[in-house]
């Protein structure tokens, strides 16, 4: 085949161009550390990297969400722990007031301390997080949820429970609404309440009450009625007698699966109402206690009323403590879930980053070897060219 010099020349230039462009591309790879800088170099991997990047970015967002959830839950946890402490103090003060030996003056002092606690409770119920959001207001985070009223406190929040996404398909409640924490506390022993009628003239005081047989509990109202100081009857809402007996102070009266202890000396005609527990705000409980303490102990009737009120308050405070513990446990559980999620997300991110770099990351050893061999090839090509260019018959003529 005839080979002409001009073809040789143009082919040499084309070959050099080709080599130089490959070298430049490899240099690009080495300097960027990326196996491909344009999708055309590996279209499938480029598409996969986008999906992995998305998963990575989403997972990082979940981590940031989880950190924010952790902060919110820790704020709530602190508030709940303080709430527990305040309720314990309240319980001790109520017990102190119930010793029966306190003067009206002392009782007023105790009432003043309880009022102090009431305002700390209000402060806790109106806790704000670092962003100024009320944490016990449900979704109404910009509205102060609790304000004291004559009978307790009003609630201006709602029943929402903001959730935060901490993983694909997993949201965590970052708060509890104030109604659920402070208002929805069962009265009495959690199942039923026993209340002395306001018009009682005797000194009958309601003591401990328990559920003896949960399967027999009917959930209806009962009235314990004393026809004389030693005889009692238990009536259902239709005035039918469900139990009756002779009363001695400290005696346990049992009916419908319930057990009620009464002490003191009830008068003829005194009644005690037995009703299923309802929800009562902790603020109402405290307010009722303060009102009873302020009434003093001037007469045996007042003393009896105080004892009954303080006993009722103690029961309600116990319920509040139990209730708060339950909420605290749930917050603790959620904190654990967030912590678990944070560590899961962290290892997931490491995994995703590994996958991205295995697709996109450059194998330096092989890239540099390739670059080196291409450089050698280029200099060899150049040398070969100068060698063949020297060959011309014209050199030897004449």
């Amino acid at each position: 085949m005839r080979v002409t010099q001009s073809l040789e020349q143009s082919q040499f230039i084309a070959a050099i161009d080709q080599l130089q462009s490959t070298i430049s591309q490899n240099e690009n790879e080495v300097s960027s550390g990326l196996a491909f800088t344009a999708p055309s170099q590996d279209p499938t991997a480029a598409g996969e990297v986008i999906n992995l990047d998305q998963a990575l970015s989403q997972s990082q967002q979940y981590t940031s969400n989880a950190n924010s959830a952790q902060t919110s839950l820790q704020t709530e946890n602190t508030a709940l722990t303080q709430l527990q402490n305040q309720l314990q103090s309240l319980s001790s003060l109520a017990l102190e007031a119930n010793s029966g030996t306190e003067s009206s003056q002392n009782l007023s002092a105790i009432a003043a301390q309880i009022t102090q606690i009431q305002s700390s409770l209000l402060g806790l119920a109106n806790t704000q997080d670092g962003n100024g959001n009320y944490i016990f207001a449900g979704y109404a985070t910009q509205t102060q949820p609790f304000a004291l009223t004559a009978s307790g406190a009003s609630y201006a929040g709602d029943q929402g429970q903001p959730q935060i996404q901490v993983a694909a398909g997993q949201t965590i409640a970052i708060g509890d609404n104030g109604s659920a924490v402070f208002n929805e506390i069962k009265t009495g022993n959690g199942t039923f309440t026993v209340t002395a009628a306001g018009g009682n003239t005797g000194t009958g005081v309601v003591g401990a009450s328990t559920v003896a047989d949960p399967s027999a509990v009917t959930g209806t109202d009962y009235t314990i009625k004393f026809s004389n100081p030693t005889t009692y009857q238990v009536l259902d809402p239709n005035n039918a007698v469900v139990a009756a007996g002779t009363y001695t102070s400290g005696q346990t009266i049992a009916f419908g699966g319930l057990q009620v202890t009464l002490s003191g000396a009830p008068a003829a005609g005194d009644t005690f109402a037995v009703a299923p527990s309802t929800n009562q705000s902790i603020f109402t409980t405290v307010q009722n206690l303060v009102t009873a303490l302020q009434a003093g102990t001037g007469t045996p009737a007042l003393q009896t009323q105080l004892s009954n009120a303080v006993n009722a308050a103690l029961g309600n405070i116990d319920q509040a403590i139990t209730h708060t513990s339950t909420v605290e446990a749930s917050v603790g559980g959620r904190l654990n879930a967030v912590t678990t999620q944070l560590s899961v997300a962290s290892s997931q991110q490491t995994q995703l980053q590994k996958s991205v770099s295995s697709l996109q990351g450059l194998d330096y050893a092989s890239a540099i070897t390739t670059l080196d061999s291409e450089n050698t090839q280029l200099s060899a090509a150049m040398q070969a060219y100068t060698l063949t260019q020297g060959l011309s018959l014209f050199k030897y003529i004449g």
Binding site: M1, A38, Q165, L393
Partner: protein
């Protein structure tokens, strides 16, 4: 004796000419299109002396080009394909870079946008979070716009390329026609000997032309060449030229087409599939427009899903959220060749069914027909095009202003201009609807076991939809809402003021439930907006926006890769074709050097023969002189 002189003279003349031809070959060793020339020598007619025929010398019978038409044709075809691929590659690699740049690309912007929603969900009343969301939405819209305008910019490069190519084709065609005339005259004058230099020039022009657009040629007996373009449209016939013109596309005046007439009725763009011009058309129809459409499809999916979510939640002022994104709807353009002035209007009715195709709606004698504008495949549709019964196909509905004249055509582009027109419609960060529209609550003192589910908005336009409402149970079996008492069935929907809600379980008399607008700290809608990141929106809900962006990158990358591969392969083929042509027509300097020596020696020998003739004659003359003196 005179014969010896005349034989030597013919030889000296012939070898001098041969040396001239060789020198000319050397001189043109690097001239493009030059075909090396060969001197054809032949012995002149012999003279009869006695019984024997004695040669009378040598004559030049012709100076011919070392030339193979078939090798030349092969090279031209291969050049056409190569320049088509090279010009296409210029654009696919630019698109590859535009779409594929991950930093600052659509996918990064999308991730930032969804993450910003998630941050707002974590603290829905925080103004900084909302501001960050607004900025990320603006950055996302900006990215779509920039990508789209960069792709549109390629379209103007293509227009400029088409105009330049057409100008060059016309100029080359004119030169070929004029060379044709000169060659015909020159050949006739030289008794059938063609003027080689002109043939070389013409071949060079044809080669040039085939790099601009694939052409085919035929040669007439008088030596003139006819050149045809596209599907055989004549460009040069003997000495006549059909000038090409650029005309605006019948549907899109901003896209240039090539026509053989000025009125644009004979657009031949679609038949030009090779050469630089073929590459420009391919880049436009196979690379740029489909990418713009795919990008537009993403923009439509994003805007539609984000707006729907915005509309179903409440902003910080407690109002339903306004649209977050705005964009241009589908375009439906009537052909400039239409017989009447019927207009078409297209709207997107179902984003999930939307494709990235363009459609051609035509009124034929058999009625309306809808085809895929790129492939020509028929697309099934329903409806007749009236406002009451619009044409519906692939998620797009089309209404015609009247029944079009037969032959009328409309180009429907559902997504072409969407990406370029994507804008953020909100200005104030408080307008993001992070809160769910309605929230429900059970009364704090409820003693029954009934619970209320989430309320669903059925009619956001209802004036009272956000009015706080209490559902009160007067007994376990009946409830009062909006002043009317109804019988209660557990789990049945309770509807009022454009919303519905279900209460399940056993309520007690006196229990109450409330339905009220979402509070500012409610983050349900923001959670739903952030969750859209992985939600299927496109292709009937199977592909998320981000997944669509990944698919776009893969398809753009694959196309660029495929064009690169074809271009490399074609370069190799072309080198081979060049080698073949060069091995026939190229000038090998070593060969010419040898020829030069050969002719020089022959010349020297002939001169020596002449000298010997002279000496012989002198000897003869001397002997005569010697005898007579």
């Amino acid at each position: 004796m005179s014969d010896l002189f005349s034989i030597s003279t013919t030889a000296l003349q012939a070898f001098e000419a041969a040396i001239n031809v060789t020198s000319n070959n050397i001189a043109n060793a690097n001239t493009p299109g030059y075909a090396r020339e060969i001197v054809d020598l032949s012995a002149t007619a012999p003279q009869t002396i006695g019984q024997a025929a004695v040669g009378t010398g040598v004559a030049i019978s012709g100076i011919n080009r070392a030339y193979s038409q078939s090798a030349e044709n092969q090279l031209n075809t291969s050049q056409s394909t190569l320049s088509q691929l090279t010009s296409l590659q210029t654009f696919t690699s630019q698109i590859d870079n535009i779409v594929g740049t991950t930093a600052g690309g659509v996918t990064t912007a999308l991730q930032n946008y969804y993450n910003a929603w998630s941050t707002v969900a974590a603290d829905p009343t925080s103004t900084p979070s909302r501001q960050a969301l607004l900025s990320s939405a603006q950055a996302l819209a900006q990215t779509f716009q920039t990508t789209s305008s960069q792709l549109q910019g390629l379209n103007s490069q293509i227009n400029a390329g088409i105009a330049a190519d057409v100008q060059q084709i016309n100029s080359d065609a004119t030169s070929i026609a004029s060379l044709n005339q000169q060659i015909v005259i020159g050949t006739a004058q030289a008794n059938g000997q063609p003027p080689n230099a002109l043939l070389d020039q013409r071949d060079a022009l044809i080669s040039n032309l085939s790099q601009l657009a694939g052409v085919s040629t035929t040669t007439d007996s008088n030596g003139a060449v006819n050149v045809f373009i596209g599907n055989g449209q004549p460009l040069v016939l003997q000495g006549n030229v059909t000038q090409l013109t650029t005309v605006p596309n019948q549907f899109n005046a901003s896209q240039l087409e090539v026509s053989t007439s000025t009125n644009g009725n004979n657009a031949i763009s679609s038949s030009i599939t090779s050469g630089d011009l073929g590459g420009l058309f391919a880049a436009r129809t196979q690379a740029i427009d489909p990418t713009l459409n795919q990008l537009g499809q993403l923009a439509v999916g994003l805007a539609q899903s984000a707006n729907t979510q915005q509309n179903s939640g409440l902003n910080l002022s407690g109002q339903f959220g306004a649209n977050l994104f705005s964009l241009a709807g589908p375009s439906a353009t009537a052909s400039s060749n239409n017989a009447d002035n019927t207009t078409a209007t297209a709207t997107i009715t179902n984003v999930g069914a939307l494709t990235s195709n363009d459609y051609l709606l035509s009124q034929t004698t058999a009625g309306l027909s809808l085809t895929n504008a790129a492939t020509g495949a028929a697309v099934s549709f329903t409806g007749s095009g009236t406002a009451a019964n619009p044409i519906v196909a692939d998620g797009v509905s089309i209404v015609l202003s009247q029944t079009p004249a037969t032959g009328d055509q409309f180009l429907i582009q559902p997504t072409a201009s969407a990406a370029g027109s994507l804008n953020v419609a909100l200005e104030d960060p408080s307008q993001f609807a992070a809160a769910g529209a309605l929230q429900t609550a059970a009364g704090a003192n409820n003693s029954g076991s009934a619970t209320i589910g989430a309320a669903t908005v059925l009619d956001a336009a209802n004036a009272n939809v956000l009015a706080p409402t209490t559902i009160s149970f007067t007994s376990p079996t009946s409830y009062t809402v909006g002043g009317t008492t109804y019988a209660y069935t557990s789990g049945a929907n309770i509807s009022l003021n454009g919303w519905q809600v279900a209460i399940t379980g056993t309520p007690a008399a006196g229990d109450s439930f409330t339905v009220q607008p979402g509070a500012s700290g409610n983050n349900l809608n923001a959670l739903a907006a952030a969750a859209q990141q992985t939600q299927g929106v496109l292709s009937n809900g199977t592909i998320s926006i981000n997944g669509g962006a990944g698919d776009l990158v893969t398809s753009v990358g694959s196309q660029a890769q495929q064009v690169n591969t074809s271009q490399t392969a074609q370069t190799a083929l072309n080198t081979q074709a060049q080698q073949t042509v060069q091995s026939i027509s190229g000038v090998d300097l070593n060969e010419e050097a040898a020829n030069l020596l050969q002719w020089q020696q022959a010349y020297q020998a002939s001169a020596q023969a002449f000298a010997i003739g002279n000496t012989t004659f002198t000897t003869f003359m001397d002997s005569i002189n010697g005898t007579y003196t």
